[in-house]
Structure formats: C-alpha cells, structure tokens
Symmetry: C2
C-alpha cells in the first residue's frame, strides 16, 4: 500500500442552505476520481464545516506534508485577499514543516471562463 | 439597423474589492462577442452597481421585452433561493409585459463543473 503524502483542498465560502454545497461536493467527487495519490477534501470559510485549519490538521495527522489549496471562488475579493492569507499564515505557524501551495481563484481560470461563457451564450436559447 | 429586443443579464453577488469584478467583466465581454442581437449586461445583488432592477429598467427603456438572467453563482444558497426570486417578483410587478427567464446557477452546469474539475486536477501539478 502506498501512503498518500499529498493533499488537495477545495476551499469554498460556505452557506446556510445545505443545498448550496451540492455542486462543491460533486466537484470534490469528480476531482477524486481523477487524482491518484492525493487526498482530496472540501473545506469552508464560514457557515459550513470543516474549516480549512481543521482539514489541514487532519491531513497532517495522516502524514500528509504537501497540500495545495484551490479557492473555489469566482472572484478575488476580501475572502481571498485577506481571509485566506490570514488562515494560511495561521496554518504555516502551526505546521512549519508543511509545504502549502495556494492556487488562483477558480473563476479566473481561462478554461472555467470559457465554459461559463458557453453557459451564458447557450442560456439565451434559439 | 436591427433593434435588439432581447437582454441577457449576468447576475453576480458583488463585493467591496473592485478587483473581485474583473472575471465577471471578462465573462460579460466574452459573452457579448458571441451573442448577436441581444444586449448583455452585468448586475449585482449587493455592494456593487447596477442592481438587477435598475438594469432591467434600463433595458425596458431601450425597448427590450425578453430578458434572461444567468446567476453567476457557484451554488444555490439563500441568494438564489430567496433574494433572486424576490427581485424577480418585484420586476414582474413593475413590468407586466416583460418575459423574464431565469437560468440555473452557473456553477451547477456540467460543462462548468468539468472545467472546474480540470482546474483542480491540474493545480496539483506533476
């Protein structure tokens, strides 16, 4: 058995309505199917659990020492400009041996932008 | 010259940081390039302008009588379950002759989900 030493965390905002999480859970499941040798988890900024620090603590307890965080946010506002960096500082202080990578906002990816444009264009119908 | 009678509104949350709107503005511009015969605008729920009702008022004033709203939200929480329907009720009461269509959340589209999965997988690198 190979020990998985890498983690991928899909970091989302969270909401009061449980239905909100459905597309994020689907994204996590679809990502898991395509990623070998990494643990893939969802984590939330607020209103839903687990939090990002709790998720990282749990991964560290599994021996994972290399974690990539993907912000599943459309735009880069206060949550990604201030809240996420503050959480990452906290995590790095608690886990000095951890390699922590943070990707750009998913909504700024050109491929995601193309797919969103397709959806907008198609929503007009004939 | 053909009068454009259809409108497409990309409806987003809004944020305090101006940088947040950049991918939404790009989405609007890319959609405009591919849509002929429809006016394409951004509108915001809060913190940014214009609002959805103001955008619809302006489209009505241009003679547009068929409007599609695309919620540029990843998940369907309180904003799409309650706030957007309330805004649509308000708009329909003010504009009884308007045809108002509301698409599903952009984040629940299978094509957008696929592109987001690609981004998550690729973010792990080699």
């Amino acid at each position: 058995m190979t020990t998985m030493r890498r983690g991928l965390i899909l970091f989302a905002h969270g909401a009061r309505a449980a239905s909100w999480a459905v597309p994020f859970e689907r994204l996590r499941d679809q990502t898991r199917e395509r990623v070998a040798g990494a643990v893939v988890e969802l984590a939330f900024l607020e209103l839903m659990t687990p939090s990002l620090p709790d998720t990282i603590d749990a991964m560290r307890a599994q021996g994972i020492d290399d974690i990539t965080v993907v912000p599943v946010f459309l735009g880069k506002g206060g949550h990604l400009l201030r809240d996420l960096p503050a959480l990452c500082d906290e995590v790095r202080a608690a886990h000095p041996a951890l390699t922590l990578n943070v990707a750009g906002a998913i909504g700024e990816d050109p491929g995601v932008q193309r797919a969103m444009t397709d959806y907008c264009v198609n929503s007009l119908g004939g």
